[in-house]
Amino acid sequence: MNNTQSAENRLHALDAVRGFALLLGVAFHAALSFMPGWPPGIWAMNDNSPSQFLSDAAFVTHIFRMSLFFFIAGYFGRLLYHKLGARAFCANRGMRILVPLIVGWVVLFPLISFIWTAGITKVFGGTMPPMPEMPKVPGAFPLTHLWFLYQLLLIYVVVIALRTLVARVDRSERLRGLVDKAVSASLHAPIAVFTLGLPVAAALMSLSFWFYWQGIPTPDQSLIPQIPASTGFGTAFLFGWLVHRSRDALSLITRRWFVHLVLGVIATGWLLHTMHASPMAQPGLTKTLFAMIFGVAAWGWVLGLTGAALRFLSNFSATRRYIADASYWIYLAHLPVVAAIQVWVGHWPLHWGVKYPFILLVSFAILFLSYHYLVRPTFIGQLLNGRKHPRKPLPPGATPSPASPPPAATGNGGPVAQLRGITKKFGAVTALNSIDIEVRRGELLAVLGPNGAGKSTAISLWLGLIEPDAGVVTLLGGEPQDLAQRRGLGVMMQDVEMPKELRARELVDLASSYYSHPFTVEETLWRAGITKFADRPYGKLSGGQKRQAQFAVAICGRPKVLFLDEPTVGLDVQAREAMWKSIRALRADGCSIVLTTHYLEEAEALADRVAVVAKGRVIASGSVDDMRALVARRQISCESSLTADEVRGWPGVVDASHDAAKLQITATDAEGVVRRLLASDATLTRLEVRQAGLNEAFNELTREAA
């Protein structure tokens, strides 16, 4: 269920990216009337206040916005294809892409032509220059900005044909397995950002007439596919498709977002610098370099922005959802609106710094209003986005919303923190192996195990410090990386030193500032029993006092879940009793507590439940009594002439050993063993039988696991 949840979250982020790419297109076109040095006629208007800045900014967005769109389209393409099947996929794409292309063109082309004519006439001072002829290219057709729909349809055809072929040839899926590995490896290294741009670089290098500013020349003049655009956007689509195939590509993209973005920015800086020196490509090294670095810039931005969105925008937001829904309509309809306003303001005696924001503001206002009233509640919204939204909001709960919170994982008695099917490796060492542990509301779970058993790894997963290789980690019903979840936790770690210059009181004050409803500093100090030395610098405290100060920092936020990693190490008896008391008080307030410890009496004194971890697995879990019952073993000790080896083979004996004076036997059937002992050795003395303590139970279990 949580996998579905996290898959849905990813879709929110990717939807946001697609919406962003489309809205960026509006900003891009709105800048085109301000391009310095463009001859009249290329765009609807030549503004009287040109801007080098807007020219550069438009170039930068132009590097990646369409590749970004096609990349996401590829991802969603495969998702949809596998959800619907081939036939329904084609029908769906026909409705959502082909119909808007045809209807959109029929409606928009006359409007665009009209505005262009008006604008160019205005630029030429009222007289209309002779209309330029259609460019003499094969298949010439003015696709306008709707070319991307046409291109998308072509790519769908090619990719589905390719997929059918691969499915037929590669029946064992070996080839596809290799491709998946290559995708992961290229993102892991990360070399994808350097290699994905190579095909389009080759196509760009071969262009005989190439203004660097154009980037990938827009294929809006012809129905015949153009090589650079088909190569560049085809690669983007295909890679998006393969990323959807891959198990871990998306998480790699998420993790590498910053590296990719930095590479994109650096490459973009170089492109801008080079383009300023010479805007028109001349055959030679610079052109080759420009084409290749263009690829790095495009993919740096595409992977960087996608990763950043996955990292930061994965939660559901009603506003983002609305904007993402609106973006398709807005992009389809924007061109005549934007161009009309550009023509309108073109001769105003104002700086571009005023006019450009004005154009954006008015355009977006018109486009969003038209979406809200004419599209969202009508059949157009149904056509473009697959569903109609009623104009009046339904009563709460009438429609299932993706915003609905995750299932009540924090309900009374339910788990507040879970590790499910977790595997975590560090190099060749498997720290945790398919482990399942949960902490229920209001309980104290003691995690026991020898050093290196995986206890601290489990805690680190819950704290969001590391990510699992497989499995799901939940904390308070969400992901531990989310700040909102972490506000509910308190933590005391091993091997942490606090700043020695600060006083204990100041450390508590600082930690309290991270929480929504912390205890007052005085109350925290009192609860942790450190009021006496609260004003001494941390560096001057004894080892035990330092642990107590760290305990105070852990509890100051009134935590719902408290993680205590070996909290009482180095404390004297009094301090330990005080800390136990404080822990019990927190639990009485409903706080759930996870405690790792080596002191077994600590677990016996405090724990509701015990989980024994050894070699990366939970080998036993239950209440302290359960644990004893599970082992159901008793310790028999006596002075006897029998040897341990003789006794070990008896029925009901689990283990036997001989220490300096006594024979020690661990038995499941104590009565039977005692009877036989007395029968076998008439001289037997000092017989003692007792229930095994947790200590023995724990030792037995971990030994068996080893």
Partner: protein
């Protein structure tokens, strides 16, 4: 409004108010720590001022009286040293120590706003930079070794403050890469050559001009010269200086983030 009132508002509000409160508290204690730790504060605050007094007043005093440009040159050099050293060492060494202490791991586990400690370190670096810069400025103005208009002094000072940011980022990078004991050594290793090879302290032969843009100090100085309008010492366009400072900041910050993410 007193601090108590401010605090209660911060405690009662949610969302952005709380985050602001965390940033404020983090910064307050970061500064408290720096000021209570004389090992960092003393050399960083006194060294540049002492060196400026030695060179600009005692050694080159007369030469400056003949050529006021020399005074500006030396003032800029030692001021850059004064503001960049706390930025670099203050952030870098403390970060490296905190990583050794496991404190950064604890902060990542706590619900601290992810950028709070970074902002706290940068702000503290800036405050220390101001504290190191003011004595030099006072000394230069009082002895008449800096002959600039008030507006120029203000612009130069502002430029120097902005110029600390790449060095804060450099400090964070060093702190994220090196251990607590090695961090000062590494910081010196990348900082000191730049002071000389950027041409900040003495004019370089023409044959060495090509390598000056490698050093962040060079761009900070150029930025300051542009803002103060001192044409004689402008060797690269303003945009280039800004772009380079920005580039270095992004680069260093990127390495830091990468490193902290992968190694902690």
């Amino acid at each position: 409004m007193n601090a108590l009132a401010l605090k209660s508002i911060v405690a009662d509000s949610s969302g952005s108010g709380r985050a602001m409160g965390a940033y404020f508290t983090e910064t307050k204690y970061e500064l408290t720590r720096m000021i209570r730790n004389p090992n960092v504060a003393v050399p960083v605050l006194l060294l540049p001022c002492g060196l400026y007094a030695l060179f600009a007043l005692l050694i080159a005093g007369e030469a400056i009286d003949k050529d006021p440009n020399l005074g500006i040159f030396l003032f800029a050099a030692f001021s850059i040293m004064a503001v960049t050293m706390p930025a670099l060492f203050g952030t870098g060494v403390t970060l490296a120590l905190e990583r050794d202490m496991g404190l950064l791991r604890l902060k990542r586990a706590q619900p601290a706003p992810p950028a709070a400690w970074v902002v706290a370190k940068i702000v503290s670096g800036l405050v220390l930079a101001v504290l190191a810069y003011i004595p030099i400025l006072v000394l230069a103005l009082a002895t008449g070794k800096l002959t600039l208009g008030t507006g120029q002094v203000a612009a130069l000072s502002a430029a120097l403050m902005v110029g600390t940011i790449p060095f804060c980022a450099m400090g964070l990078m060093v702190g994220s890469l090196a251990s607590g004991t090695a961090a000062p050594a590494y910081a010196n290793l990348i900082y000191l050559p730049g002071c000389y090879l950027s041409g900040m302290f003495f004019p370089l032969p023409t044959s060495m001009y090509w390598q000056t843009p490698i050093w962040p100090q060079f761009h900070v100085e150029q930025f300051a010269m542009h803002l103060a309008g001192i044409a004689k010492y402008q060797f690269e366009p303003l945009q280039m200086a800004i772009a380079s400072m920005l580039g270095y900041t992004v680069l260093f910050a990127g390495v830091t983030i990468w490193r902290l993410k992968h190694k902690g």
